[in-house]
């Protein structure tokens, strides 16, 4: 959908961002020590330029934890939708792997992947629709990046409103949506149509990133082999239990993954209004929650990020655990990320190669290590030494 391409000078872009920051909330990368965070800024000058990506995934702006879905008073009050009105956001500096993840989440939460727009997730869609995505193509991948394996970057064909590539002078801007076209119309005075040389420079830069990717990162998502193994259920129980030995069930991989979206929903007494249950009695569903009818007070239905790796996630009513071992739960995760069944359902691979699971895993089993193990299993190679690459 990149029908139109423009060029803006650095100053012109800064001016555009300053205007947008004044009218809406501009979120972009800021530095704190060695780390980058996406935070609201007042002015474009507050943004940092030399970064790869933030460990916090941008999805947290669309799927915050906790998020209030409803609230009600007892006795007798009717439940009303909860949550604050979403703000108009402009997200600048987001990377392609996260744009691809957001695109997947949008297809999921809109109900498109199941053909059910009637059950679109209102809270997510409300935030998504009010966000303008100005992504920036990555030209300096990190050691944990793997987007080239997953069609997750360094540049994309769709998913953004604007996709920007930094040139020696100024920026090349690709428009990817109607919202992006509205922006270019509005800021026409600051933009020029992209010239041949600028287009060639952009293409050359992107090609260069791909060609030289291995100099930055030697990690890979072995999606072909992995896809075959998980989709056909060809990995034996021993494969998964070995992984289960390394997983400490921290939930981190799900919390940082751009495509993960599982959540928990609980009705909880509002802050500070809970009471401990009687000693020796049953435990409540949430801390401080009631264990008998007749509760009073204000309650909030909130959703919280969750992970299929956790035992409590799969616990059924009455206390059975269909995926009782950690290894079986690892199988669930990697099936969701790498199987053809999910590609068929969702339209793209469940992994965009952002590399966060590599950074976040206490057990050293990021998707690169796991897909490598799957490849070894496919070709019948002897299993690697107890640990795969260190994190």
């Amino acid at each position: 959908m990149s029908d139109a391409r423009y060029w803006a000078s650095a100053a012109a872009l800064e001016g555009i961002l300053d205007r947008l920051a004044a009218e809406r909330t501009l979120i972009g990368p800021v530095r704190r020590g060695d780390d980058v965070y996406f935070r609201p800024v007042q002015r474009a000058a507050d943004l940092c330029r030399d970064y790869v990506n933030a460990l916090e995934p941008p999805k947290r702006w669309f799927l915050p934890t906790p998020e209030r879905l409803a609230r009600y008073r007892l006795p007798g009050g009717a439940a009303v939708p909860g949550g604050d009105a979403p703000r108009e956001l402009v997200f600048f500096g987001i990377r392609s792997c996260d744009v691809a993840g957001l695109a997947q989440l949008t297809r999921f939460f809109s109900g498109e992947t199941i053909g059910r727009p009637d059950v679109a997730d209102g809270p997510f869609m409300a935030r998504r629709e009010r966000t303008t995505i100005l992504s920036v193509v990555c030209q300096d991948p990190a050691e944990t990046c793997m987007c080239v394996c997953c069609k997750g970057g360094p540049a994309l064909d769709a998913g953004y409103d604007w996709q920007l590539t930094a040139l020696t002078s100024g920026w090349l801007i690709e428009v990817g949506s109607a919202k992006g076209r509205e922006l270019t119309t509005r800021f026409a005075a600051s933009l020029a149509p992209a010239g041949e040389r600028q287009l060639a420079e952009q293409a050359g830069r992107i090609a260069g990133v791909v060609e030289n990717f291995h100099r930055h990162s030697t990690r890979r998502v072995q999606s072909m082999a992995a896809g075959r193994m998980v989709s056909q259920g060809r990995l034996p129980e021993a494969f998964w239990s070995a992984l289960g030995e390394r997983c400490v069930e921290c939930g981190g991989c799900a919390f940082v993954c751009p495509t993960c979206n599982c959540f928990n929903v609980v009705d909880a007494p509002e802050a500070g209004s809970g009471v401990l249950p009687p000693v020796g009695g049953p435990e409540p569903a949430v801390p401080g929650g009631p264990v008998a009818t007749g509760a009073e007070g204000t309650f909030e239905r909130i959703r919280l990020r969750d992970s299929c790796q956790l035992a409590g996630f799969v616990r059924q009513y009455g206390g059975s655990y269909p995926r009782a071992t950690c290894g079986e739960r690892c199988r669930t995760r990697f099936f969701h990320k790498l199987s053809w069944q999910f590609v068929a359902r969702v339209g793209t691979l469940g992994c965009t190669g952002c590399g966060r699971c590599v950074q976040v895993c206490l057990g050293g089993i990021g998707i690169d290590a796991v897909s490598q193990r799957m490849t070894d299993a496919l070709v019948g190679a002897p299993a690697a030494a107890p640990a795969a690459k260190g994190a």
Binding site: A45, T65, E245, C250, V266, G274, V286, V360, G390, A391
Partner: protein, 525 residues
Amino acid sequence: MSTALAPADTAVSLTACPFCGSGCTLTLADAEAFPVLGDPVTRGALCLRGWSAGELLDSPLRVLSARMRIRGSPLAKAPLETALGHAASRLAAISAKHGPASIGILASARLTLEELHLLAGLAHAIGTPHLDALQRLGTVPGPSLGLDAIALAQSILVVGTDLSVRHPQVHRRVLQALGRGVPVRFVGANAGPLATLATEWIHCLPGHEVEAAVLAARPDDLVLWSSELALHGQGGPALRRLGGAHSWRLPDFVNQLGLQEAGIHPRAGGLAAYEMLQRAAAGQLKALLVFADDPFEFFPALAARAFQGAEFVLVTDAVATRAAEAADVVLPGSLLAEKAGTLLGADGSRRAIEVAHVARVGVSEGEVARRLAAVLGGKAGPAPRAAAFAPGPDGAAPDAPTPDYPLIAALDGATLWSTHPLVGATVTARREVWGPRTDFPDGWVTIHPAAAKALGVRHGWTVRLESDCGGLLLAVRTDPHAAPGTAMVPMHCWERAGTALGALEMDPCLRIPVFRPRAVRIGRQ
């Protein structure tokens, strides 16, 4: 378009996870916790407790107002000043009537160093020698290395601790060391996944880890251990025989080393924390001041008697606990995320934390201590440096199995968080960590699946666990990581099982309660 934000106007504040001794650094973006990638300890990872830390801010169990009870009435909300004033006047009266040594103070390993100094100042202002923390778990000044030591180690010996639960950042580095081909050997019973991943699992029964480690240790071993050894009653031997230059006693809680720094331990003429509860129960200690701790967590029966026996109990905490329910005055504390201050990392170094979230109530445990000290002590001034803790003689040795009692029962250190009040105030960590208590509400005993089979019992069945002193009913939980010959008791059953089996004892060396490993048998109900 480049300048970094100055720390003063950054929208990113760094705080510490309030749970284990790893002391990870995290940010709280609108109540959502994220690890910090650039921090050398955290390196972008948290365990589920850390990831759930943001859920504490608006937990239903936050203590957001003061409460007080007068003459047997139920606890009722009261203005902070009224409750504080009431507490001060009760303490003054008790001190005047029974002497300052009738008041005991229980501190916490999840307060900042500054707050701990204020607690020491409060003890000094009151004039009481009784200042300790149940959360000390036997920590005494000892070797503190850093994570770099693991990176440089040529061989590693892990003694008696399940790192994946107790020290996840250490667990991570040990796995990385394994990946580099460094031999990692595990000594003990509570293994967790390291039992099967380690280069060698040196089996020994609970209580015998120190001997086994000393026998197995090689000169270039980096030795890693934690409070489990002390909780088996082997704290003294551990200190003496494992405390070499290349040995690291891992702290259990985020600022447990701060307790040492602030001189919070039993001193000459002063009671240990557990002893304070015993004396209060006997009516000899008249008042208890509890800060960010819940004595009911591991010792509910004793705590109930202690709170009954004392004339006045003040609990200051950020979350509701059984202790707060039973107190005479409850004052709201703050979460670590709501405070600025200093913590001591597991390597003994100081690190600063920032206010990451506007405090819900604006009063902290340290502030309460300061204000009480000002009222009660007049111009007492800062506390003098306490003398170093002097360990006493070793306690009784662990049991050996006998033909009639062929298994050894001991505390399962990996269940340290199974009743923890902060964990219990979250949704996600609570579901996972407290979760087994939903499935086994009356407690459990963990044995190896082969042992279960040999006994003819199955996972979920109720059995009688008994020693030569007595027994109790528990559900069976099988776990392939359990060591053969053991029957591990979760820590929230410490008092009940310890009392029934005759295992709950006071260790004279470190002056902490322990569960001395006992010879037991399992019988069908």
